[in-house]
Every structure is written in C-alpha cells, then in structure tokens.
Point group: C2
Chain length 338, copies 2
DNA sequence: TTGAAAGCGCTAACAT
DNA sequence: ATGTTAGCGCTTTCAA
C-alpha cells in the first residue's frame, strides 16, 4: 500500500510538500506539484481517509439516517443529499433503521456516535430525548428532513397546510362526503406527519361545516399495498365518500387501485387527491400537491456543509413550498353526478 | 471531546486496559471492566473510528456502489446488505452513481479508492478495465450483485434461464404471438442483464419454432413509467401479440397499465409475465418469476465479511434460484380466445 | 518554497 | 490482569 512517504521518496521532496501539492494548497511550485502528481498517479497513491481524518478532525462523511429505503420520499431525499455532497468530496454513510427499527439502538451507539461522520441528516425520524442529547453533546450539526421534530430544526412542507389545501380542493369541487386515508404512526418515525395531515383535513372539513365520519377516516401504512387494503375497507360499504384525500400519492394510488377493483370509477364516482407528485402520479393521472424531496435533501446537505465550513448555524426550520397539480383523478361533484 | 485517555485517567487504569475492556477482549477482570464501562458512559466517551481504523487497518465500512436508489431491486439489495452488516458493526457507505453516472469518476477516485472501506459490493454495474485494476490493486474484496460481469465474480439469477423460463411459460399456455418488453442497456450499467434476458426470450421462441417479430421486441427503461410508454408503442397497432414477457415486474406493470389504457383486457386479450416478484406484483395479480434481492444482498455482504475475517476467497459466482409464481395476468390462449 | 517534527486517538506487541 | 511503548498515515505548526 503506497503511502505519502513513498511519493515523497520517489519525488525527492518531503511528506509535507507532497501533502500540500496533492491537496492543491498554495506555496508549491508548479514544477514540484506536477512531478508529485505524476509520481502519485504512477504509484497509484490514494490517501487514507482515516489518517487524514484523524489529523484534521474531519471525516468528510455525512450520516444519513433513514427509516427504510423503500419509499419514494426517502430515496428521493437521499439522492438529493448525495448529489449535493459528492462534488464536495463528502461521502454518504447510510444508517438504515430497518423495517421495525431493530437496528436503531445499534445505529446510534455503535455507528453514528463513533465520530464517523461530521454531521447528521435524519429523515422523518422522531428522536428520544436521550438521542437528541447524544447528538448535541457530540456537537454534530443535525437537521431533520420531513416533518417537524421537537428540539431540532427541520426542512419540510407545512404538513397541516398541505393537507388542508388538498381537502379544500375537494371541498371546492363541491364534495361533502370526503374521506381521509391517513398514514400510520409508526414507532420511532415522526408521528407528527400523519397527525398534522389528519388535523389539516379535519380543520378544512370543520371550517366548511362538513362532517368527519370516523368510518371514512382510515389508516394504512404509507405504501401502495397497505393503502389499497385500507381503502378497500373504507370504500366497500353502502355509504361511501365521493372523494378521498390520501396522505401520500402512494396511498392515493392504493385507493385508486381499490376503487378499480370495486368497480368504482375515478373520478366519476370517486375523486382522489394525494400529496407528493410521485412519478407514478402522472401515469395514474392523479391530482396531487407536489413537493420536491430531492431539493429538500439537497438543501439539507448544503445547510450542513455550510455549517461545517464555519457558517453560523441557522437554527430556524425551513418550510418548503407545495403546488397543486390538477390531473384527472378529481372532478366536481356536479359533473360526476351528471 | 473525551478520549480513551480521559477514561483511563478517571478509572485509574491504562489506555490499553480501557481499550480491551470496551472492546470486550479477554484478560480484563470483571470489576475493572465494569468500572471502565461505567466511566465511559458517564463521560460520554465514543471511540473514534478514524483512530481505531488507522491502528487496525480496518475501516469497518462496506462500500456499496449503486446506479440509483429508485428501483426496487437496488433498494432491496441495499437493505439486505445493510441488515447483514449492521450486527457485525459494519457501516454502509453508499456510492450513488447518479442517474446519468455523472459522479462515477468522482466516486472511484475520490471516494472508494480512499481506503474508506474494507470491501466493495457493486450493484448491476459494469466496470471498465481500469476500474477493475484499481479495485484489484487496492486489494479490496469485491463482488457484483445482479448480472455477470467479466473479471469479477457475481451473485445473481441465471439471466438467460429465467427469461427463457418466462417465455416458455407463455408458450406452454399456447401463445405464439409473444412480445418482449426489454430493459434498456444503460451506459455504465451491466448491459448483459437486458441482453441475456432478450437472448433467453429469443431462444425460447426459436426452440418452439416461433417468430420473433422486431416490432414486438421493444425496449424501455426498467421502470414503470417508461415501460408503459414502450408498451403503448408495442400494443397500439393492428396486429399485436397475445402475450408479453417483460424483463422486470416494473416493466410488466407498465405494460398492464398501457393495456388498460388501450382497453385491452389482461389476461383476456393479453397475458403478461414479469421477473422479480415486486411487492406490487401481488396487487396487480401479475404472474412472475420471483427472485429475492434482499437475500442476494445479504449473501454478498456475508461473503465479504467472511473474506475479511480471513476465509479463503471463493472466486466462484453464485447463481440464485428463481420460482414461477402464477397469478392472474397470464392465461392459456384457448381460454382467452374462448 | 520546502523540510522537520510533533501530534491526531487508538491498537497491539511486549513487558510485567 | 494490567502497563509501556511504538506505531498507523496523514496534517500542521514552526523553522529554514
């Protein structure tokens, strides 16, 4: 394994000069730099990140904690983070908590806390008080993407507002019998996301003087398959809603599949609206409130990088915009009836 | 930042003993160990992975190179890898090549090759000769998951065989007009996967004396949305096939969506078979040849771990099994016609 | 512009 | 069972 000393020996300069030359620092003559670069290439020298990390105190790695990597939202944020990080020479260390969070304790103690990363970005997680303390005491810049978390700043949409807007869109179309397909409050995940969305729905209904019927407010996981089953329960009854607001596009698509199976036409007999603008929303002609998780991830990453390079930490959370995209899955009650 | 020296001082023992105690090595009395553990906890001591990595020569990190994290196959493999690694104290460093592979060069030079990882698992990648040399010269154990790659062992299904089996299933049902929705040969990715699957299809057709019509062999990306468009092209014609073999379930679902849009009933007028057993295959009642990417990832990870712990490197590739899962998207031509 | 040398925080012989 | 000490490979003063 060729090290910096080998390059130095071959080039006939000191290790210090090699180090400077290779990192593009000033005060190295162009000639020296060139010959050092060439020798390094020829010898196949690659610096050890452990050694430089130990010397500088920087790991050049970002810890990203994700509940899983099967939902579109998480993977999109992840790609946004990685894309922002890579050009800066930062690596992404993925901490997957696992479906049931089995690995959570392990992730925290053995890994994140091993000074392996310079900063931590967490996706839709809720932290325990202890976990927050540990993060804080290690001095890691930390930010959460997707959903407000107490004690930590976050980047995300206005969960309440977006849900309210979605519901109001249906109300604006004349619907009065509106159901809500809500996300599950998973253990360890940020419960406030499904909660705030449900609350936004309820507020919109209430503000319009509409009845929130318990049997029309069902809960499923945030995925297509589970949402489909939940929707089957909601829709396969005598009195069903004429419109459904789903807490995510994946859930909305699950609802559309359920409707199709039950012979309920969308939007003829049922309007469906979601949140996200998932790639499949277009294929399914789904009306939705679009958000951009890739951009949220990129923003989170650049915030962390800024702070690592000495910028003052801005403790404020960032609320990103959403936009209504009207497609064919919603229609006015009048038109549907007619 | 409290270090091992602080713990040693507080406990009144040497750094070596602290190191031993905390890593669970033998030759430390239970009393000492207990008091050391306690002091470490109290002081909030966390070891520096850089320092220990530098001292041991082990990074306790696995590099995982992925084309992207938006396809089910990749994320499933990733979860399998991570699940296997985590209990062993290994972290997963994610190298996302980016949609168009923009970051490929950067990943190779700046990151993987920085001795940041102990081994490398690559997903469905093709390596250039130079890249292989670099990996080899650094002495990283390496394995590819998903698709044969020249010069490296791999873990994956028999691409040719599984495609042939899928096609033969359709033939066995009496179909003669069988189309193939093939995967795209993306730059930098393992082209042999789509190629071998196409070849398996062609062989099955040929062996049965059936005609492979060029206009029935279309190519799309491995995703639902693109596959849907490709399928629209294939199916929206006068003479269309009565069955389609898609190179993945995501593509098969794209085909089913396209069929639905064109008013072609599945399986009444069109049988569809895929490969994968994607979670949505069940929802869409899709016949498929199941594979288990999670297990493939776990296997890859444990192979790497074994070799890192001194086991002899087994250079042989591993072919994993697939299983036909018959669902409602395929039916015999006779029944469909009748 | 370049070099010498002292760490960074830990592990692993080797002693005791 | 525990302590001493010499690195691991780099960066970074401080000198020259």
């Amino acid at each position: 394994m060729t090290g910096i000393a080998d390059v130095a020996r071959v080039t006939g300069v000191s290790m210090a000069t090699v180090s400077r030359a290779l990192r593009g620092l000033p005060n190295v003559s162009e000639d020296t730099r060139r010959s050092i670069r060439e020798a390094a290439d020829r010898l196949g020298y690659v610096p050890s990140s452990n050694a430089s990390g130990l010397a500088t105190g920087r790991t050049m790695a970002m810890g990203v904690v994700v509940p899983n990597v099967s939902r579109w939202f998480y993977t999109s944020v992840l790609e946004g983070i990685d894309a922002e990080l890579r050009p800066m020479g930062y690596d992404t260390i993925l901490f997957n908590l696992g479906v049931r969070g089995e690995d959570r304790e392990r992730v925290f103690h053995r890994s994140i806390l091993r000074k392996r990363v310079d900063a931590v970005i967490a996706l839709c997680l809720d932290f325990t008080a202890t976990e927050r303390e540990q993060l804080a005491s290690l001095g890691y810049p930390t930010v959460v993407v997707g959903g407000p978390v107490r004690g930590l700043r976050h980047i995300g949409v206005d969960e309440f507002g977006v849900a309210r807007a979605a519901t109001e869109h249906l109300i604006g179309l004349g619907h009065v019998a509106i159901g809500h397909l809500g996300g599950e409050e998973e253990r360890g995940l940020n419960k406030r996301v499904p909660q705030r969305r449900r609350a936004g729905y309820a507020r919109a209904m209430q503000a319009a003087g509409l009845e929130v019927r318990p049997e029309w407010t069902v809960t499923g996981a945030f995925e297509i398959t589970d949402a489909r089953e939940a929707a089957l329960r909601m829709l396969d009854v005598e009195q069903r809603p004429t419109a459904v607001f789903a807490a995510s596009d994946e859930m909305a698509i699950g609802a559309m599949l359920a409707a199709r199976e039950l012979g309920i036409s969308v939007p003829g007999e049922l309007s469906v609206i979601g949140i996200d603008n998932h790639p499949l929303a277009d294929v399914f002609d789904l009306t939705t409130l679009a958000q951009d998780p890739y951009a949220q991830g990129a923003l989170a990453a650049s915030m962390m990088l800024d702070e690592l390079s000495g910028a003052p930490a801005r403790s404020r959370s960032v609320t990103v915009r959403t936009a209504l995209i009207e497609r064919g899955s919603t229609t006015s009650l009048a038109r549907a009836a007619g």
